[in-house]
């Protein structure tokens, strides 16, 4: 395949592209205020990511008490909910993420069963 002719990009844009590409994992954790359960979930998630995805992930925390509108976008019902947007497919994992094995399966880092 012929390489596509690209528009010239600025240096700043280029680094942005590169930075995004290094964070292959885009995770979103929905919480509702700093409840013990939500904090547990965040700590569990950080630990899993540091162990398995070090340097290649980004976690966005969305507090629905502050931004209730965002609940509709990812159709959030349960709290806490972890949404993996990238890499595809999109998956949802609910709960405090205390079952590490299950979380890894959900993130597609372990084959099921």
């Amino acid at each position: 395949m012929k390489p596509k002719r690209r528009k010239p990009v600025s240096a700043g844009q280029r680094t942005a592209v590169r930075r995004r590409s290094t964070k292959r994992w885009k995770l979103r954790l929905y919480v509702a205020g700093p409840t013990p359960r939500c904090i547990t979930a965040l700590n569990n998630l950080k630990e899993i990511c540091e162990t398995h995805l070090k340097g290649t992930y980004r976690i966005e925390i969305i507090d629905l008490l502050k931004r209730p509108k965002l609940a509709a976008g990812d159709q959030i019902v349960a709290i806490p909910t972890l949404v993996k947007n990238l890499p595809p497919p999109v998956t949802k994992i609910i709960g405090d993420l205390s079952d590490t094995e299950k979380v890894l399966v959900g993130l597609d880092l372990r084959p099921e069963g």
Partner: protein, 475 residues
Amino acid sequence: MVRKRGGKSDLSGIRKAPTGIDGLDEVTAGGFPAGRPTLLCGHAGCGKTVLAMEFLINGAAKYNEPGLFVSFEEDQSELRANFASFGPNLKDLMRRKRIAIDYIPVERSEIMETGEYDLEGLFVRLAHAVDAIGAKRVALDTIEALFSGFSNAGILRAELRRLFRWLKSKGLTAVVTGERGENTLTRHGLEEYVADCVILLDHLVSDRIATRRLKIVKYRGSTHGTNEFPFLISKDGVSILPVTSLELCHGASTERVSSGVASLDLMFGGKGYYRGSSILVSGSPGSGKTSLAAHFVDAACRRGEKCAFFSFEESPAQVMRNMASVGFDLGKWVDKGLLRMECWRPTAYGLEKHLADIHRTVEAFGPRCVALDPISGFIPVGAPSEVKSMLLRIVDYLKTRFITTLITDLVPASVEEDCYGSGISSIADTWLSVTTKTVRESRERVFSIVKSRGMDHSARIVKLVITNKGVRLEA
């Protein structure tokens, strides 16, 4: 059971949110409990969603109570199709932010569970949507879908309990729908959480005719009708019809209206029927029932009163031709706008549709006299008790509207007068009977007044003769 807070006023003490649905407010004595959840249960396709939506629309349009509809099951396009019947009304209310529709899909296949969770996300969304339009009414359709979305029933039950507490604390009048279970009202036992008001919808098909029915299973702190009420979903929405049979409070007039037959009026002391009463004419085939009905209608039109003639056997043209042969020009009254002819085949629809159609015609046209010819046509449409209850409701309804009603009823030629086809003689104020007997090798019609409540009447048995100028009674 009754606590010491004083008799009857206690019963009507709870605040109600009127549904604005024809008949439903009457059977619930004012509507659903305000600020509390009401459970609406029934099998799929029994009208839960439409009833819930109509509750919201009426709240927003008539009672200044904005409403939020939350669907857990159908997606937006399905919902739109479902609500298409509400037409521009709903769209307009949505544009003016009086109604909001939120769609919260729950699919287990998409969700994985690990550890503890709650449904705070749902609460956040509900609270946000409620606040956005200042909703006073909420419909959750159907919340049970959550059970298919989450596997931890323990968490779910605790959260549902919290949800209903939350709805109450917010003062929201909520309608929660639930699918009928095998041996329970709802599949997941929602009735455990909604203790205030439970309404059951039913969709029966017998003899290929469908009848929708509504029953109030429970209404804490309120009187309510305990019967099964037929209801109807039509292009005008839901109606529960008619409901006037709950009360016996129609007035009684001493005004008299002519039967249209001078010799019959004479048998009633020269004055005729009571205005607003119901007259039953029972007779064997060809005994002149329809002719008596035509007399009654013709006399009313002559007085300049509006009349509705419901025929359940013949087409309008047929009725008019046949009546022309005995001297009535009914077409003239139709042209003048005094007479409305409505002809339906009873077996074409279920009973509740007939009820509704008669109700609507009467409401729209506003007749002072109504003839139903013959009601025996309804016998094949439903079980005898159902038919009788429907006829009772029609007659009661017309009575409360102070409409003089003449009903004809076909009884087999072979039976005596005390056997009656539709078994509704008890609700008629005046009962006329025409039978035929063979006298000297010709058929003779024999007429008598079986009863006539509250007035003097002749007890004689007379001969009824049909001429080309109508009916004549001869001693």
